[in-house]
């Protein structure tokens, strides 16, 4: 193939030495904007088990929205006023829904072997998001500003000290745990979720084992002879 026949990048950078131009070209090559939002899916996606990833994202949006309101109004508001307790409840049940749907999504993808076909990074991104979500939920328990939070923090303190990481995380320090809960961990979860979704868009939804076996079947030597 001649150089003229080779596929060209979506946009030639104005200045190849510019890191922003190189980053833009690379991002456009990895995920063209017209492929960001799907308008059609493979037929095997027509199953309820494929709905739980989107449900998890919906729950995450609910958590972020209610968490923003709780963070802006403060502990006195979410403990004392009726509307504050309502939003506190929305935030809690959003988290319940988030983990419920995420675990069902995880089980579905595990039994599908969703890391097949070059999708290992998608699987790892999802697994890491799950682990960070547990830390985010844990710091949420510590940020409640009630006796429950005090009890959990003193129990967790012993647990973290026993594995040698108590020096880095002072779970009895409300300010530190609150910063983890409302800034660091939510940003990590949202960014990892966005990356996870982009990887799904790039590599596509994993086909069922049956389809993969059917696709590989013609390559068998016995059938080639026939």
């Amino acid at each position: 193939m001649s150089a003229a026949d080779e596929p060209r990048p979506a946009r030639v950078p104005a200045d190849a030495r510019s890191w922003t131009a190189r980053l833009r070209t690379r991002a456009e090559g990895a995920m063209p904007p017209e492929r960001l939002l799907p308008d059609r899916q493979p037929s095997y996606v027509a199953s309820w088990i494929y709905v739980f990833g989107a449900l998890t994202i919906a729950a995450l949006l609910l958590i972020v929205a209610s968490g923003l309101i709780l963070g802006l109004k403060g502990p006195a508001w979410w403990h004392v006023t009726a509307i504050g307790r309502f939003f506190n409840g929305i935030h809690l049940w959003g988290v319940e829904l988030f983990f419920f749907t995420m675990v069902v999504h995880l089980w579905g993808k595990f039994f599908m072997g969703a890391w097949r076909g070059g999708r290992s990074l998608t699987w790892v991104a999802g697994a890491v998001t799950f682990l960070i979500s547990i830390a985010a939920a844990f710091t949420g328990y510590l940020s409640q500003q009630n006796f429950d939070a005090q009890w959990i923090s003193t129990q967790a303190k012993d647990g973290l000290n026993s594995v040698g990481i108590g020096a880095f995380f002072n779970v009895t320090n409300f300010g530190q745990m609150y910063t983890f809960h409302v800034i660091l961990l939510p940003v990590a979860v949202v960014l990892l979720t966005a990356w996870h979704v982009l990887l799904v868009r790039r590599h596509g939804v994993v086909p069922p084992y049956v389809r993969q076996l059917a696709a590989e079947a013609p390559a068998r030597p016995s059938e080639e002879r026939a």
């Binding site: 027509a46 088990i49 739980f52 419920f100 069902v104 089980w107 579905g108």
Partner: protein, 57 residues
């Protein structure tokens, strides 16, 4: 009386929680129910038919 208050009377969340304890295994009934419900929903998601879009002419 509000419906929420009625529900609160049925499911009294202020009393001591019940636990399932069998050898090394110990878990609150509430957590166990959530796990059972997740398994039920997982099985239903696989087994229940998904509504298909009508064929376009």
């Amino acid at each position: 009386m509000l419906p929420a208050s009625l529900l609160g009377a049925v499911f009294d969340l202020s009393r001591r929680p019940h636990y399932v304890h069998w050898h090394f295994f110990q878990m609150s009934v509430t957590n166990l129910l959530v796990i059972v419900l997740m398994i039920v929903v997982f099985a239903a998601a696989i087994l229940l038919p998904f509504p298909h879009r009508r064929a376009e002419p």
